[in-house]
């Protein structure tokens, strides 16, 4: 199968987590699976709860759309010892969107996915 034959991915859901994980193992410059079970469980549970997340091409967004890529930098050992409680990531998201930490989900307001 060539890349041209693959249907474009327009959304990701809980069922896609194993595929994403496999791809991450392949493409990541460094990889370790310590703590992987927790990460997979958490992401799967969140996606199952909130349904799928739409994927949007950058050129399909309005010019004035505010975008942010959230990431985590830190020691994997420290993260494994103090797992996330679910309080960290809403903060920058809320700050960027001008809402409260428990409020808006900017990604859910993105326009529907376009066909590449």
């Amino acid at each position: 199968m060539t890349a041209r034959e693959v249907e474009p991915v327009r959304a990701i859901g809980a069922d896609d987590v194993p595929t994403l994980w496999a791809g991450a193992q392949f493409y990541a410059p460094a990889f370790g699976d310590d703590g992987a079970e927790g990460l997979l469980e958490w992401v799967t549970a969140l996606l199952a709860e909130h349904d799928t997340v739409p994927l949007v091409r950058a050129d399909a967004l309005p010019p004035d759309a505010r975008c942010a890529a959230l990431g985590l930098v830190g020691s994997g050992t420290a993260l494994a010892e103090l797992p996330p409680a679910g309080t960290s990531s809403p903060r920058p998201s809320a700050a960027l969107s001008g809402g409260s930490a428990s409020g808006s989900r900017p990604s859910s307001r993105s326009p529907p996915p376009s066909t590449p």
Binding site: E37, S75, A85
Partner: protein, 443 residues
Amino acid sequence: MLVGVRWGPDGCSAVLLSDSRVLAAARAPGHGRTVLTRVLADVYGAHAAAVRHVTFVIGPALLAAVREPADGPGQGAGEGAARAVPVVAVRIAPWPARHPALARHPSAPIAGLVARSVTLPGGHDLLGRELATLDEARVGELADELAASGVRAVAVAACGSLAAPAHERTFGERLLAAVPGLRISLSHEFGGQDLAGREASAVLNAALADVAEEVLGACEAAAGRVVPRAQHGVARGDGGRTPLARARTLPVVAVGAAEAAALLGAARLAGLERCRVLLPGPDGALLGEVRSGVPLVPPADLALIGTALCPPMAWVDEVVQVKDARELAAVRRDAEQRTIAMVTAQGAAPGSARLVETTVVALPFSPAGTIRVHLRAVGEAAAPDAAPDGSGVGDERAAGRSGVGGQRAREAGEAPAARRAGEGRGARAAKGAPGGRRLRRSG
């Protein structure tokens, strides 16, 4: 002469080893004291007086109990009625998880053993600095509440407890005062630099107490009857062996031992001192690494050979902060001495302990001078006369932990069983010497 005995899903089996030769093998369907006695008697024959050590693999029996429903038939336990008991999991962390998926254990088999999860404010960082104060009033309330609930087993896991176990101990002591005789597992007793892993170890240890008591009781009775003068030990998930009496209090160390022993047995067959092992199996291939040399023996049951060969073993895994190379050298020397002392506590002959693995690496994304030290040591099993009941002594007493400062994560010397507990994580066996992970077959 050495003997390896397995309490497996399809019955009990044993091999008798002398130097590098398999002298006898026996197998019988069923479980329990009578079956074990018969298998041991068959394999010993005329050699009983020459047997120095008997090592049992009970991991499959323990895992079978985990897979069974609490009120189902006790196939794993064999002759008795022991079952895995529901556990109350108490997590001590600076803040409670906001989502149920973050609050429960990520491994489904472990989560299935937990009847209730509670979070108490508290915990430390990797270097033992307090992140949140333990709320004494809340500790007392929860202890009284659990006492009134009739709980039988409690697992306590606090952030940073390897470096500072005070919060786990405080809650454990308060709970024990409220419920005398309650089975309480504290995660710092098991080691492993990750909270979920230690929590799994603590949950399994608490849940399997009854099953382990029954299985080990049968093992002890059979060995005591057939070879009373030999040392009686239990194979651990990290490829080492521990005195049978110690396995009664920390049964979780026996989980995963069959896989580790199979790697050790394969290395012995290949006659390699250091090798990687790939073994086919019904549930996929077992991949692992062995780092201790063993001589060649004729083909036989790899796991049983490995079981007979399991050496006394201990390891240290800790995070420390040092100012310079001189301090690092002192930390490493101290860790080496403690690891060697712990091997002796596990039944090694004095003077026989040696380091087989040393890793000292800087912890990334951490303050300068933060170092993770991982050491592993093995020894030759002491003569039975040194500990005729095979009981040995506890790690903590013999290893002299008092030499360790407060600003570091302490060692455990036991297998991080969480890594292989149940099916999810359990598909991966222990890492190290020997150790490995199970590869799932594709397609």
